[in-house]
C-alpha cells in the first residue's frame, strides 16, 4: 500500500477532491431519476470515472512519471509499483462509487434501507468496474500521459449517458473496451461482465508493469 500514500494526499492537496465531488454529483444527477434499476449503473459510472481520476492524479502527471525512475532505484519492482498504483486508483473509484450510492440511493424511487444488499452489490460492481477502467488507464498514461486519461474520462462519461439505441451501435464497435453498459450487469452476477472486468484489470496491471520496465530499465 506504499502507493496509496501518493494518491491519498492528492485528494485534499490537488483538484482531485474537487473532481471527485463533481463526478459523484454528476453521476447522481444523471442517474437518479430512473428508479432502483439505475443504482448499479450509477455506481459503475462513478467507480469508473473515479478510478480514471485516481490514475490521472496519482500516476499520469509528467513529474509523477519522471519520478518513477527514482522510485525504481529502491527495493521494489515495476510489477509492485504498477499493482500499487492500480490499487490506489481502484480505491479512489470505490470511494466515488460508495459516495454516489450513499447519496443517490435516497433519491432513487424504490430503494429503502432494507435494500442494503442491493446497495452493497452496486458498490461492489462500481469498484470492479473501476478496476477495469484503471487497468486501461494506467498503462495508457504511462505511455501517453494524462491526455490518455482525458480521452478515457470523456469516453466513459459519454457511454454512461447515451441512449439504448446509440449504445447498441457503440457496443458493436467498442464493446471490448471497459464501458458502463457492460459493467452495469456486474451487480446481477453475469459471467461475461465479470470475465471482462477481470481481463481488463489483470491485463492492465501486467501491461502497466511491462510499460514501466521498458521505460525505466
Amino acid at each position: 500500500m506504499a502507493e496509496w500514500q501518493l494518491v491519498r494526499r492528492r485528494v485534499t492537496r490537488t483538484r482531485l477532491g474537487l473532481w471527485l465531488v463533481c463526478v459523484v454529483a454528476g453521476a447522481v444527477a444523471l442517474h437518479s431519476r430512473g428508479g432502483a434499476a439505475v443504482l448499479p449503473r450509477l455506481a459503475v459510472c462513478a467507480g469508473m470515472l473515479g478510478a480514471v481520476l485516481g490514475v490521472a492524479f496519482g500516476a499520469g502527471g509528467e513529474v509523477d512519471r519522471a519520478a518513477l525512475a527514482l522510485t525504481l532505484t529502491h527495493p521494489t519492482t515495476p510489477a509492485a509499483v504498477a499493482l500499487g498504483r492500480w490499487l490506489a486508483a481502484v480505491t479512489v473509484g470505490v470511494a466515488a462509487a460508495i459516495a454516489a450510492v450513499v447519496i443517490g440511493a435516497p433519491l432513487v424511487a424504490g430503494v429503502t434501507p432494507a435494500s442494503a444488499l442491493a446497495l452493497l452489490r452496486a458498490i461492489l460492481g462500481g469498484g470492479a468496474a473501476g478496476g477495469a477502467a484503471a487497468g486501461l488507464a494506467l498503462p495508457g498514461v504511462w505511455l501517453g500521459g494524462n491526455a490518455v486519461a482525458g480521452v478515457l474520462f470523456i469516453y466513459i462519461g459519454l457511454t454512461s449517458v447515451l441512449s439504448p439505441g446509440e449504445l447498441a451501435a457503440l457496443r458493436a464497435g467498442l464493446g471490448w473496451l471497459p464501458n458502463v453498459s457492460t459493467y452495469a450487469g456486474l451487480e446481477s452476477a453475469g459471467l461475461v461482465p465479470w470475465l471482462h472486468v477481470t481481463a481488463w484489470s489483470l491485463g492492465g496491471i501486467v501491461m502497466a508493469a511491462l510499460t514501466l520496465r521498458r521505460v525505466h530499465r
Binding site: 500514500q5 501518493l6 513529474v63 509523477d64 527514482l70 532505484t73 529502491h74 521494489t76
Partner: protein
C-alpha cells in the same frame, strides 16, 4: 588492501548510432572511500554512474558489488543513486517522500527511524513539511542525497548532487558525506564543480570521451606546484612548457625551479610584472587533460 565494495572491470557502453559512451573503464571503490569522477560535459561521468548502479547494462565488462556480479535487485537494496536532475512527486512533502520511499526498505517501526536519519543526512529538517514542488534546486539535490542514503545502502552514487549548493550547504553536506564514508559507505561523486571534490574526494578519476585518462589519489594529482606569471603585455612567442592565461603565462614546477622558469621568460624577452607559486587545482588537471586529448 581492502576488498573493493564496488568494482567495474573493463566496462564499455555504446549507445545506438554513437561512439562509445564508456570505453573499457575499470574502477574499484573500497568501503569508506570517496571517489570523484570528473571530466568535461559529454565525457561519460553520468553514464559511468548509471552503469555502476545497474541502471544501464554494459555492452562489455562486469560490475561487481562485494565481489558478486551486480544485478538490479541487489543494486536497489545496496546502491543509492542521486540523479543530476532529481524529480519527486510534487504534491508530497519532503518527509512524505522519504516516508514513501522508506516503505520499500523496512517495516513501519523502522521507517520512522529511516526517515529521521535521511532528513539529518540531507540537512532537510527546515523543509521537512514543505511540498517538493515548491523546493529550490539546491533543496531537491539535498533530498536526492537523503533518499539515496535510505536503508542499508552501502554505495552512494551522486551525480552533480553537490554542485548547485551554496558554500555553507556544500561544507555541511561534505562533512556529512565524510561521516557516511567513515561508517564504511563507498561514495562515488560526479561533479562539474571541482572545488567540491577537492573538499571531499580521496581519489579522482578523470574521464575524456568515455575513457579514463588520469586516476589517482587527489593529494598526488593536485599536489604539484604551478608558477603564475603576470606580464605587461601578451607574449608574442610562448616558451615551451608554458600555457597562456588571462594575465600572462603559467607553467608547472614539477621538474624545475622558479628561477629557471623566470630565466626562460627573460630569454624570450617577456616583461614580467609579477609572479607567484600556487598548488595545482583539480580544474588545472581537467583542463590539462582536455588540452592534451586528441580531438
Amino acid at each position: 588492501m581492502s576488498v573493493p565494495l564496488l568494482a567495474l572491470s573493463g566496462v564499455t557502453k555504446r549507445f545506438s548510432g554513437r561512439a562509445r559512451a564508456i570505453d573499457a573503464v575499470s574502477l574499484e571503490v573500497i568501503p569508506g572511500e570517496v571517489v570523484g569522477v570528473v571530466g568535461p560535459s559529454g565525457a561519460g561521468t553520468s553514464t559511468l554512474l548509471r552503469l555502476a548502479g545497474a541502471l544501464l547494462r554494459p555492452d562489455a565488462g562486469t560490475v561487481r558489488l562485494g565481489g558478486v556480479p551486480l544485478d538490479r535487485a541487489a543494486a536497489r537494496r545496496f546502491i543509492g543513486w542521486a540523479p543530476e536532475a532529481p524529480v519527486f512527486p510534487p504534491a508530497l512533502t519532503v518527509s512524505e517522500v522519504l516516508s514513501y520511499l522508506a516503505q520499500f526498505h523496512g517495516a513501519t517501526v523502522a521507517r520512522r527511524a529511516l526517515v529521521g536519519a535521511a532528513l539529518e543526512i540531507g540537512g532537510l529538517e527546515p523543509v521537512a513539511g514543505r511540498r517538493t514542488g515548491l523546493l529550490s534546486r539546491a533543496w531537491l539535490h539535498r533530498l536526492a542525497l537523503a533518499q539515496a542514503a535510505l536503508g542499508r545502502r552501502r554505495v552512494l552514487l551522486l551525480d552533480q548532487t553537490l554542485s548547485s549548493l551554496d558554500a555553507v550547504a556544500r561544507r555541511t553536506l561534505a562533512e556529512r558525506l565524510a561521516a557516511l564514508a567513515a561508517r564504511g559507505m563507498a561514495i562515488v561523486i560526479a561533479a562539474h564543480d571541482l572545488a567540491v571534490l577537492e573538499r571531499v574526494a580521496m581519489r579522482v578519476v578523470v574521464l575524456h570521451q568515455g575513457a579514463v585518462v588520469r586516476s589517482g589519489a587527489l593529494a598526488t594529482l593536485v599536489g604539484e606546484r604551478v608558477l603564475e606569471i603576470v606580464l605587461d603585455q601578451p607574449p608574442e612567442h610562448v616558451p615551451p612548457g608554458f600555457r597562456v592565461t588571462a594575465s600572462g603565462l603559467e607553467t608547472d614546477l614539477a621538474r624545475g625551479s622558479v628561477e629557471a622558469a623566470l630565466a626562460v621568460c627573460r630569454a624570450y624577452r617577456l616583461a614580467v610584472r609579477a609572479s607567484r607559486v600556487r598548488e595545482k587545482s583539480l580544474e588545472d588537471l581537467v583542463l590539462e587533460t582536455w588540452d592534451a586529448a586528441p580531438r
